[in-house]
Amino acid sequence: MEAASISHNNFEQCIKCTICTVYCPVLKVNPAFPGPKHGGPDHERLRLKNPEFYDEALKYCLNCKRCEVACPSNVKIGDIIQSARIKHQKKPGKIRDFLLAHTDFMGTMATSFAPLINPVLGLGISKAALDGVLSIDRHRAFPKYTGQKFETWMKKQAETQSRYPEQVSYFHGCYVNYNNPQLGKDLVKIFNALGIGVQMLKNEKCCGVPLISNGYIGKAQKNGKSNLKAIRESVMDKNIPIVASSSSCTFTLRDEYPHLLDIDNTEVREHIEYATRYIYRLFSNPDRIKKLKFTDRKLNVVYHVPCHMKKMGWEIYTIELLKLIPNIKLTTFDSNCCGIAGTYGFKKENYKASQEIGKPLFDMIERSGADYVVSDCETCKWQIDMSTSQTCHHPLSFLAQILTN
C-alpha cells in the first residue's frame, strides 16, 4: 500500500519535524534560501499543483545532502530540491555558468595554454576582470591547470599496467586530468604496490556534477549515458571494476545518475567504487595489505569528511585506511561543510555565504596544529587551501607521500 501511494522522491513521508533545517549549512548564513523543509517537501506539494510556485532561491542549495543524512524519515530532500531545479529553473544563460560547468571543455582549452593561463589567472587584474565581467569572485584562487593531461601520461603507461593480473578501470575525473595529474599518478603507485594494474575507461567524460548544478541537464545526461556505456563495457564485458578518486564523481556516478538524470545504473552500481573502499576490501587479505609500508614518523593528521562522502557513509573506509599508518594521531571533522560546493563558491553572489559556511571548519583546522590535512574531495581542497594556512591532501596523495616502498 505504501509503495503505491508514495512518489518516487517520497516527499509525502516528511513529518515536518524540522530536523533537516538544523543541519542545513546555507540556512544559517543566507536567509534568502527557503531551507530544505520548505524548499523541499513543503513546496513540492505546491509545485505539483502549479509550477509557478517554483522559487528561484533554490539555486542557493549546495546539494550537500546533509539534510538527507539528518532526516529521520529518509526523505530524499536534496533530490527533491535538485529535481525541482532541473524541472523549473530558468535556463542557464550566463557565460560564467557555462565556463564553470564545462570543466572538460575549460580543461582542454586551459591545459593547452597552461604556462600562459596559470599566471594570468593569478593576476589581480585578471581576477578583477573575472569578477567584473563574469561575476567570478575576485577572492577566489583558481586551481592551476597542468601542462600535460593525466590521460596523456596514462596512455604511455598502458603496457606496464597491463602486466598486472588484477585490473581496475580508473575514473579519474576532470580534476585529475586537467589540474592534478599527480593524484592520478599517486593512485597508480598505490594500486601497483598492491599488485593491481590501472587502466583508463574508454572515452571518459565529465561525470556531470558541475553540469547538473549549473543547469546543463541535457549535456549531463549525454555525458552520463556515454560514461555508463564505458562503465558497462568494463564491468560487464571485461569484469573489471571501476575505481574513482573523487568522492563527488563517485557519488554522481552511483546515485545522481538514477536519482536526477534518470539513468539506470542498477547493473553496475555496486561495481563503482571509491578508491579507499576498494583498498579496504583487500584488508581481508592481510599479506596483501602488508605490501603498503608507511613511515613510522609521528603524524598529526586531520581528516575533513566531504559532504558527498558523508552522504555515502564511506568516510569509514578512508579512516580505516589512514589507521594503517603506524604512528598516526587522527582527528576526524565530519559535521561541517567547507562551503565551496563545487562551482557554487566561485560565484560572486555566493562567495560570502561560502566562506561563512566554511568558517567553523577553517577555525578547527587552524586550531588543530595538524601536520597534514586530508580530504577526499578536490573542491574541498581548493577551499581549505585558500581559506586556511594549511594545504589539503587527497588521502591517496598523502599515503603515496609517506609510502616507504
Binding site: I19, V22, L27, P31, G35, A70, P72, N74, E270, G313
Partner: protein
C-alpha cells in the same frame, strides 16, 4: 568490519549503551537512520512520574508498587536495586559526556513546559528553569524576554500560568540589528540559528545590554531556549547582567536535546566508537556460531560483524516498530512484538486516556534479549523506546527506560 557490539539506533538508548561499552574497551558501531528523537527533547530526563494514574514524588519508592502492578515493565525486569544504581550511573555518564544535569533519583523536581505548566522530572540541564515545588515557582517576579518575531515561544501563555502560581512577569522583546538577517525568513527563525547568531560577541553583548536595561528589578530573567548550543552560555550571560537567567524549552527543534545528542555522539566517537549516520540496516544474518552479520543501505555487500547486537530503534515515531492494518511489526528483523491482534483494542476513545498502543513494542526476556517465533535470540538485546510494557507519556518514564535499559544491557554484555 568486525565489532564487539553493533547498536542499531543512535538516540539516547543506543548512545548510552555504546558509551558504556566503548568506555570498557569494547569496539562498537552505531548505525543510525537519521537524527534521533532527542531533537524533540524537553531538556529534562524523566525517571518515573506516575504509577497507576497517581502522581509520585519519589520514583525509587514507587518501583515496588509498579513492579507488582505491571511485572513486564522494564523497571520491574531491572529490579529496584539496579534501578537506583543505574540511575546514578546514568547521571554520571551524562556528565562525563558534557551533559551536566541537576536532580536526584529519589526526588522529582519540576520542569516548565513551553506552555508554562509544571511537570515532574528527574534530571534537568542546569540552564533551564525548574522548580522544587509543584505549585509555586522560586521567584515572585520575573522578566520574560522573547526574540522579536520568534514563533516557537509564547510568553503570554507562560505569563498566565506563572500568575496562577503567584509569580508576576513582565513580557519584553529582544530586538538587535543582528537579528534582522534571520528575520528575513520568519519561518526559519529557529532556536538553533538564533544560538549561532549570538555566538558573535557583539551580538551577545547587545543581548546582555537589552536584558540589563529591561529587567526592572526582577529576580530572574526567563528566555526561550535559544542560547548556548556551542558557545556563549547562559552562565556567562547571567554573570554579565548580574541576574540569574534561565531558559524555557521552545517548540522543536530542541536546543538542549540537540546539544545532548551532539555531546554524547562526540564523546562516543572520541572514545573510539564508530557512528554511521543516515544509514539503514537492510539485513541481519545470524551465523552458525551465533554471531551477527549486518548489511546496510550505504555499504552494500560490505558486512559488519559482531558478537552482540542491540536494537535501539525507538518506538512508532522513529519507526522502531510499525503499525500495519492489523498488527504491530518490528521492521528490521521481524521480531516478536507485544500487542493486541484486535485493532479496536489499540486505542481508547478519549485521546488523553491511557492508550494501549503506548505499551506495545518488542517482546524480551528479563535480560532484554529479543525473541523471534517464541524463541530467545542469544546476545541480541533491545533497549529504550522499542521495548514493550510501559507507557512513556502516562508514566513519565521514557528517558529513564532508555538510559536504564541501555546500562543494564551494557552490564550484561560486559559480564561475558
Amino acid at each position: 568490519m568486525k565489532f564487539d557490539t553493533i547498536l542499531i539506533g543512535g538516540g539516547l538508548a543506543g548512545l548510552t549503551c555504546g558509551i558504556q561499552l566503548v568506555g570498557q574497551g569494547k569496539k562498537c558501531l552505531i548505525v543510525s537512520s537519521g537524527q534521533s528523537a532527542l531533537h524533540f527533547s524537553s531538556g529534562s530526563f524523566d525517571l518515573l512520574n506516575q504509577v497507576n494514574g497517581e502522581a509520585i514524588s519519589n520514583p525509587i519508592e514507587a518501583i515496588d508498587r509498579l513492579s507488582i502492578l505491571n511485572p513486564s515493565h522494564p523497571y520491574a525486569k531491572i529490579g529496584k536495586a539496579n534501578v537506583v544504581s543505574y540511575a546514578r550511573q546514568a547521571k554520571a555518564l551524562l556528565e562525563r559526556t558534557g551533559v551536566e544535569t541537576v536532580g536526584e533519583e529519589n526526588k522529582n523536581h519540576f520542569r516548565i513546559t513551553p506552555l508554562g505548566i509544571l511537570k515532574p522530572t528527574w534530571l534537568s540541564v542546569p540552564d533551564y528553569a525548574v522548580s522544587p515545588d509543584d505549585k509555586a515557582l522560586p521567584w515572585k517576579k520575573v522578566s520574560i524576554f522573547n526574540i522579536a518575531g520568534f514563533l516557537d515561544f509564547h510568553p503570554t501563555f507562560i505569563c498566565e500560568q506563572f500568575e496562577k502560581m503567584g509569580t508576576q512577569s513582565d513580557i519584553l522583546t529582544i530586538d538587535t540589528p543582528e537579528l534582522d538577517i534571520l528575520r528575513r525568513n520568519p519561518s526559519e527563525l529557529r532556536a538553533t540559528n538564533i544560538s549561532q547568531l549570538f555566538e558573535n560577541e557583539t551580538a551577545f553583548r547587545n543581548l546582555a545590554g537589552i536584558m540589563r536595561k529591561g529587567r526592572n528589578h526582577s529576580e530572574a530573567i526567563i528566555i526561550p531556549a535559544c542560547l548556548g548550543l556551542n558557545g556563549n552560555s547562559i552562565s556567562k550571560l547571567s554573570a554579565m547582567i548580574d541576574c540569574p537567567v534561565y531558559m524555557i524549552p521552545t517548540f522543536p527543534p530542541s536546543l538542549a536535546g540537540i546539544r545532548s545528542q551532539r555531546r554524547m555522539m562526540k564523546y562516543f566517537q572520541k572514545s573510539g566508537g564508530y557512528y554511521m549516520l543516515g544509514d539503514v540496516v537492510n539485513n541481519i544474518q545470524i551465523a552458525p556460531d551465533g554471531s551477527f552479520q549486518v548489511t546496510t543501505g550505504n555499504h552494500g555487500d560490505v558486512r559488519f560483524c559482531s558478537s552482540n547486537l542491540v536494537l535501539a530503534t525507538g518506538s512508532f515515531f522513529s519507526r522502531g516498530i510499525v503499525a500495519l492494518r492489523n498488527k504491530i511489526v518490528e521492521p528490521v528483523m521481524g521480531l516478536d512484538t507485544y500487542s493486541s491482534d484486535d485493532r479496536n483494542e489499540w486505542y481508547a476513545e478519549n485521546f488523553f486516556d491511557d492508550q494501549k498502543y503506548q505499551y506495545y513494542g518488542v517482546k524480551t526476556n528479563d535480560t532484554f534479549q529479543v525473541m523471534k517465533e517464541g524463541k530467545v535470540i542469544e546476545n541480541f538485546y533491545a533497549a529504550g523506546a522499542i521495548l514493550s510494557g510501559f507507557n512513556p507519556l502516562k508514566e513519565g518514564c521514557g528517558s529513564g527506560v532508555s538510559l536504564l535499559t541501555a546500562l543494564h544491557i551494557a552490564g550484561q554484555i560486559l559480564k561475558k
